[in-house]
Amino acid sequence: MLALSQTSKANYHPKVHDHYEKPRNVGLMDKNDPNVGTGLVGAPACGDVMRLQIKVDDNGTIIDAKFKTFGCGSAIASSSYASELIKGLGIDEAKNIKNTAIAKELCLPPVKLHCSMLAEDAIKSAIEDYKRKKLLAL
């Protein structure tokens, strides 16, 4: 009986709860702002979609980040943590953030590693969008 109740209580790590209940940097930026890069990843059919936006200054530093996520607790926590992580980083540094860094911080179980991968994809996608805009503006 004890063993049964233990196996059925595979809960999320407190860090996931913390980000899920108090998500950081939730919001929306003007996607037409030339200094804003928008990354949108995931598939609505699968349940998880993330939108991550970054504001980059003239030195290539990410000065602000905002996200909105439709998905499970781990997906929300992963994007919330990712938005915290990239603030203050140069875009080239942020581009190198690996899903494992996010998964490790949030102690995600194996089945939830995909959420951290989605957050990594969101960061990359936002940076690509920003770079594409800058190229077009030249």
């Binding site: 595979a10 209940e21 949108l40 990843v41 979609v49 439709f70 499970c72 995909h114």
Partner: protein
């Protein structure tokens, strides 16, 4: 005698109901999570971006029930192969299939999870040593190929398990 015992064990594993854990692959947990946080988006507000998102159309020709049957057979076949490997190794590794999720437990070396993802007709793989990957079925080669680099699912498992277990493992279709 030994062979029949083995088959019994496999049957038992297949039919054994598993206590459901609170943590499930995303497609399920999205439904069980109650949206309370402001961070949640309505799926409808994303519809305008639909063409930008990962395409799901490629494999939509397979019906969902066909996909479930096919991917389940793949996962069960993997389980049988792994079971045989683990038995010969007499290790503390085990493999378990339940409700579309195959869990390969390598003890202190980590854990693999493969799950069906019916909405986009994929199998998702979570590995303790490499990035999570998604696989779509390729009928031309009759194999599941990674959406990132087109590597076969069986090749990835063969390579990673051989190195983790320090024993030449061969997983094939």
């Amino acid at each position: 005698m030994l062979a029949s015992l083995r088959i019994n064990r496999i049957l038992a594993l297949r039919t054994l109901p598993k206590v459901s854990s609170l943590i499930k692959p995303c497609a399920c947990s999205a439904l069980t999570y109650i949206p309370s946080a402001n961070a949640l988006l309505s799926p409808r507000s994303f519809s305008q971006y639909a063409p930008l998102l990962y395409s799901t159309s490629q494999s939509d020709t397979t019906s969902e029930s066909e996909f479930r049957k096919h991917s389940e057979n793949t996962l069960l076949d993997l389980m049988d192969q792994l079971d045989m490997v683990f038995e010969s190794l007499a290790s503390d590794c085990d493999v378990d299939y339940s409700m579309g999720v195959l869990t390969i437990n390598l003890g202190n070396k980590g854990c693999y999870v493969l799950n069906q993802q019916p909405p986009n007709r994929q199998i998702w793989l979570s590995s303790p040593i490499s990035s999570p990957k998604r696989f779509s079925y390729d009928s031309a080669t009759n194999s599941w190929l990674s959406t990132i680099d087109s590597i076969r699912l069986t090749d990835i498992l063969t390579e990673e398990l051989s190195s983790l277990l320090d024993f030449p493992v061969s997983i094939h279709k």
